[in-house]
């Protein structure tokens, strides 16, 4: 008892001939159906090539247009020929001209001989699956499809619309439940004969000749009426992408195909010489007798689909340029923005860098230059510190920086002195963790000293910018990632929020703040703020800074709490 192959060919006929010969030489009969649309010379060459084999037959030719009835008709004729001419065939396998056997034919025959009564055909009801890649599913069986989808798309679509509008529904033959599945199957002689000789076949044929893509549903539905044991899977490894077009295998898939342990793969690129050479070797090496396991290939293809449909978040490049709102994540990974902290604390950057064990940037959007960590002039990905280049497209500057440093969380300072064009993006980006002390610029002004009149003007300017900043950030309505506290409130207990932040940013167990950052000189700051007020400026963003009481941070005893902890 052997396996018979029905082969549907329309292109790359030399490859089909090669595979057919391989099967015929191993003693398996092959019935070839050649698409009627293939021109004479090529067809003649194919039959001439195969004339030497007496187990190869050619079945009557039909025009096989994709999605139309011709394909099924061709298969039925070829199956009839196979059953009549080769009585020794127990299983019949439907393959295409671009299929390639991955394991020796004898091994396949032995494997099938172990399950003589099983039909291998993917057959699922329309309600259960969504694998019909974006196509019509249930409607395939209730509407009529006399027009070709490939050639007469408008007629096809128009006729579908018309039927929907008129609520025309077809009558599904009594007792038959529509099933769908991969068109490549392997059926037993008994089942196939029962389908061909069914007394109601004329009725079924009439019905299916107007179903859309009947080659994916004819045998899949009828097998349920006749089979003794259906195993709903295809033995042919054949995957489709999101457009419904089959994935193609190339020479570099050799190891992947080998390790899949599948019996037959589709579709092979006709010029994949190495694949054809390796898998059609007359004496293939003793292959592992494992069950087919296409899992690895499935993963490869689902990753490809994922890349095509969702892409890599945070990447903007020549073939991924999402429209606003379609980006997914705006940046590749989370990052932190500190605003005002470096005004209040001396040497905040280096302290933070030490506490986090990571590099921390200065003001990346400073007017003079991008202050990369460690005073570098050029950064990952060859981003330079040039302000002109950065301001040419600040968004791309930031997204590139984050993308280039994948795996290392980026942290930088920001404030009202900086170039503000990036702000709307920061407000919009869910990856931006923003910690801000409003009014902190006043501390820097106070410490810088100098002419009071120019200080007052600068204070007014910064306060105006910062007000706009805060409005923009508050509008984002994301209190969990945007944390804004007025200076006065912050100074009351500066270390507790810092401790919380550090624990959020630092991986590992929660630790107490071992060494707090150094708070600079604050004596007289209350008087400075009052002077601003006296000069007619209203510093609203600072909060309530007491006038006479010297500003000592941690009035609520944070300092004492810290020392206690260190002491214990």
């Amino acid at each position: 008892m052997t396996v018979g192959y029905i082969m549907l060919c329309h292109t790359a006929l030399h490859r089909a001939a090669q595979v057919a010969t391989h099967w015929a030489e191993s003693g398996s009969p092959v019935v070839i159906h050649l698409d009627a649309r293939v021109r004479g010379a090529q067809a003649e060459r194919l039959s001439a090539d195969l004339a030497v084999c007496d187990t190869i037959r050619f079945s009557p030719r039909h025009a096989c247009e994709w999605g139309m009835w011709g394909m099924v008709e061709a298969t039925l004729d070829a199956a009839r020929l196979m059953l009549e001419q080769f009585p020794g065939v127990r299983h019949i396998c439907l393959v295409s001209g671009s299929c390639l056997p991955l394991r020796p034919p004898q091994e396949f025959a032995d494997w099938l001989a172990g399950q003589p009564e099983t039909d291998f055909i993917e057959s699922v009801t329309t309600a259960d699956v969504g694998w019909t890649m974006g196509g019509l599913d249930a409607e395939r069986f209730t509407l009529r499809f006399p027009f070709s989808w490939r050639r007469h798309r408008r007629l096809f679509d128009g006729y579908v619309r018309l039927q929907r509008r008129l609520h025309i529904r077809r009558h599904i033959p009594e007792g038959m439940v529509p099933h769908m599945g991969s068109q490549w199957w392997c059926l037993t002689r008994q089942t196939l004969a029962a389908i061909l000789d069914d007394p109601r076949r004329a009725e079924f044929d009439r019905y299916f000749s107007r179903v859309w893509i009947p080659d994916e549903s004819y045998f899949q539905s009828l097998v349920r009426l006749h089979a003794r044991r259906v195993e709903s899977r295809s033995l042919t490894l054949s995957k489709f992408d999101h457009q419904g077009k089959p994935h193609v295998f190339y020479d570099d898939h050799l190891q992947l195909l080998r390790r899949s342990d599948c019996f037959i793969a589709r579709k092979i690129w006709p010029q994949a010489n190495r694949l054809y050479r390796e898998f059609l070797k007359p004496e293939a090496e003793a292959a592992p007798r494992a069950e087919p396991n296409p899992g690895k290939i499935d993963r490869l293809f689902s990753r490809a689909a994922e890349r095509r449909l969702r892409g890599r978040p945070g990447l903007y490049m020549q073939s991924r340029f999402p429209a606003r709102g379609r980006e997914g994540a705006l940046t590749a990974q989370p990052y932190t923005v500190f605003a005002g902290y470096d005004d209040v604390f001396d040497g905040f950057e280096s302290w933070l860098s030490k506490s986090l064990g990571a590099r921390v940037h200065g003001h990346l959007f400073a007017p003079e230059r991008a202050e990369f960590a460690g005073g570098e002039t050029i950064w990952n990905g060859c981003l330079t510190d040039s302000a002109a280049l950065r301001d040419y497209d600040p968004q791309r500057f930031l997204t590139s920086l984050i993308w280039n440093s994948r795996g290392e969380r980026q942290t930088f300072q920001f404030g009202p002195r900086d170039h503000q064009d990036i702000l709307p993006f920061l407000a919009r980006d869910p990856h931006a963790r923003i910690c801000m002390i409003s009014g902190a610029w006043a501390v820097r002004l106070f410490r810088q000293g100098g002419d009071f009149e120019s200080q007052r003007r600068e204070a007014a300017r910064l306060q105006k910018i910062e007000t706009a900043m805060i409005d923009r950030l508050r509008a984002a309505q994301m209190p969990a990632r945007i944390d804004i506290r007025p200076l006065a409130e912050f100074l009351e207990d500066p270390f507790e929020p810092l401790e919380l932040l550090l624990n959020e940013l630092r991986p590992g167990p929660i630790r107490a703040l071992s060494e707090p950052p150094r708070l600079g000189e604050m004596a007289g700051f209350g008087r400075f703020v009052q002077n601003l007020r006296n000069q007619g400026m209203k510093p609203v963003l600072l909060g309530d800074i007491p006038l006479d009481e010297p500003v000592t941070p941690g009035r609520r005893g944070a300092r004492s709490r810290l020392t206690e902890e260190r002491g214990s």
Binding site: A304, R307, Q318
Partner: protein, 336 residues
Amino acid sequence: MGLWQSYRLRWKRRRRLFLARQRGRELRALRDCTAGIRPGQILLFCCLRNELVRLPWFLEYYRNLGVSQFLIVDNGSDDGSTDYLCAQEDVSVWHTTGSYRGSHYGVDWMNYLLRRYGSGHWCLTVDPDEFLVYPFSDSRPLRALTDWLDASGTRAFPAMMLDMYPKGPITAQPYRAGTDPFEIACWFDSGNYTCRRNPAMGNLWIQGGPRQRTFFTDTPAKAPALNKIPLVRWRRSYTYVSSTHMMLPRGLNLTYERSGGEIISGCLLHAKFLDTLSHKAEEETQRGQHFAAGAEYRAYLEGLRAQPDLWNRWSEKYINWRQLEILGLMSKGNWT
């Protein structure tokens, strides 16, 4: 896009096709083996001047990828390029002494040849210092890519120009004919590119890389465009508009995904920064035949006098296409 704008673009396209026909008259065939072009072959179109030293490797590289025929416009070479090309079996050569600038920097000549010989073929239009890298280019011939693009219904394949440079001054290591230029210029910038959409033509406008950060720091907007569409399944009605940066009809420019996914794309490794550049820069500045009266070359000439080193410690060393894919400079799309 409104009716008025599509009408205008249609006329623009017709004008370019007309110009292509006009400028095509300036071309004189020196060696014509276009009769040997068979259906399904991949053709390469190129316009050059005095590139003798680059030609052996250029032809060899593309022959290995599976290009069947080369159609080359020789714009008045006097260094022996012409004779070298005429001696090749798979090269058709047209000679012209016409103005490079007057033919839109060679685009009109290319459009003429593309329209006449390229229709129905996959056509690769590149400069002699551009080397195409596409996904799986180390294991699959170009034909595998074009077959797959055909099956996906894709007409145009984008490839961003990636400027390659050596470590040290560019005059330090002389380039010898027939050798791989990327043994010398094997470094590139991996992540300093900007990208914006050109609303009129629908294409992306990419700038950045070593040229922008070295020669155009004060005027970033003037840095050269790096986006290109070099590989197209040509039809008679198509036309390149500005080098191979943009095409008409403008649907061909939509080689990127707007809804978050990635479409397949490649890179054109650009072997410009070799010791041949300083010579070229001097010549082209004098001729003033290049874009914006050779302003780009003038910038190089000034920059190059200072013997700049484009290399820095963040430069990436080129390994293969997979590296470019991981860095996000190109994408496999859903090709596997």
